[in-house]
């Protein structure tokens, strides 16, 4: 059992190394980000504790994947398996529990730790056998896959847009439009297997333009109805809405270029920082986009030629 946790620790360190971060620094950064985001959440909303519990439990529930649990059960005896699952769920729950205690939410902290232990006895099958139809079947795969993964978040974005109109809050409407593009960016955040680039019989330049055209077309299918709805109710702010839409496209294209600039590997920390800077201060995209584009062409040429 001890070796299992040693292996998990090694896997985590390897992942940090692949990201270009020294493990020790990664742990400190992770802790700072966790505490920072927790503070921000509790500062922003009065429902923070409940949101916090939901986030914690959905994170912990990832360990209940059926296939993973069946492997553990086949490898270890039943009693060791139960101890491993209980311990790993508790380890993942503790940072959340400690922050809840710091916030004086001891009842919720207790509830969380009990739920984490209870979840260790559950196996989920996250491979849904029901196929969710999407309008993105002509040009798979990013939006097809992403929509199936995050359909509920798209629903939420549309709901927020509807609420923005109902309560006449323009900023909320902008938020819903932005979140549709952020979700689109999420579909391009992880690199696909090299094989799915190798199969293309075109130049790196053409490949990138195909990817970008598909992304713009499909993100428009999701964002334009929202844009039209918001424009109808906030006609005075039409220019701002169009500006947000254009910026959304630009961010999406930057994300695609950032992904292929590191392909077939994952984005390194310096690349992620560069992407973050471009998104935080869009005028920087004038430098960031050509840089990512040049690197993407170089990376893709190695596979496509």
């Amino acid at each position: 059992m001890q070796y299992y946790f040693v292996l998990q620790y090694r896997i985590l360190n390897r992942r940090l190394n692949e990201l270009g971060v020294r493990p020790f620094l990664g742990y400190i950064l992770g802790l700072l980000v966790f505490v920072g985001l927790s503070y921000y959440l509790f500062y922003k909303t009065s429902y923070a504790a409940y949101l916090y519990i939901t986030i914690a439990l959905s994170t912990i529930s990832k360990l209940s994947d059926r296939e993973r649990n069946e492997f553990l059960l086949a490898t270890f005896s039943s009693s060791v398996y139960r101890r491993i699952r209980c311990l790993e769920n508790s380890i993942l729950a503790w940072p959340f529990v400690l922050f809840l205690l710091y916030e004086g939410q001891w009842r919720l902290a207790l509830l969380l730790i009990l739920c984490a232990v209870a979840l260790s006895r559950v196996k989920f099958d996250d491979r849904l056998n029901v196929t969710l139809p999407t309008p993105f079947y002509r040009f798979p795969f990013e939006f097809t896959q992403g929509f199936r993964k995050y359909w509920f978040l798209y629903l939420l974005a549309y709901f927020v847009g509807f609420k923005a109109v109902e309560v006449a809050n323009f900023n909320l409407g902008v938020g819903s439009l932005v979140s549709v593009f952020l979700l689109g960016m999420l579909h391009y955040s992880t690199p696909e297997h090299e094989y799915f680039v190798w199969i293309y019989s075109c130049s790196a330049r053409k490949f990138l333009f195909k990817k970008m055209a598909t992304a713009m077309f499909y993100s428009s299918m999701l964002a334009v109805p929202l844009l039209l709805g918001l424009s109808a109710y906030f006609p005075d702010n039409l220019l701002i809405l169009l500006g947000v839409q254009c910026l959304g496209y630009l961010f999406l294209l930057t994300m695609i270029l950032a992904k292929y600039s590191a392909f077939p590997g994952e984005m390194s920390l310096p690349q992620a920082i560069l992407l973050g800077l471009g998104l935080w201060f869009p005028p920087l995209l004038v430098v960031v986009i050509p840089l990512f584009y040049t690197r993407s062409i170089k990376r893709l040429n190695a596979i496509l030629q």
Partner: protein, 226 residues
Amino acid sequence: MIEIENLSKSYGQKQVLKNVNLSLSSGKVYGIVGENGAGKTTLFKCIAGLETGTGSISSGYPILKKSAGFLPTNPYFMPKITGSEYLQLLCNARNVKMTNFQAKNIFELPLDQYAETYSTGMKKKLALTGILLQNNDFFILDEPFNGVDIQSNMIITAIIQELVALHKTIVISSHIFSTLNDTCDEIHLLRDGAFVKRVEKADFQELDAEMKRFVLGDRIERLGLR
């Protein structure tokens, strides 16, 4: 005609391919046999252009990979993508205009289901269908018969024979000697990253017997089964 000359490939200190030479003609099937770790998959990846080695691979095509279909031993599938979407992706990649895959679904796969939920054999059949629909001229099939049911094995054999009739070039690896016997024009024996023998169809049985002698040796006796 595809010419592979002095192809070598190393991973760090370990040399996986050692000066491999191979000539591949149109309308012929080439079998590559060898033990696990002999270098078959690396050779295939190098020919496909998924790995780079030293030496040269020349062909009549401007860029070989644009006319090549590669079936990996364990085909890759993305999560939450259906069988028909996978086929659509492969066709789009080669500018093949096709949207109705049901008529081409000769293995009767559940194309509306997520490919990740398919069994090993179904995955292999889907990946094979994909590279066939791309209208390639050159096929690299790494273990096409592995994990596939006996009926589908018969279909795959018939497909290979049809591809030969269409003057396509095919390279196959298989651990099932009878499948190579049925399909190949010549077989190359790969051992420790180098070709040690080339056998034509008339001598396949002799190669089979020789491989058995070499592989088995006194291993079973050493096991001392009781």
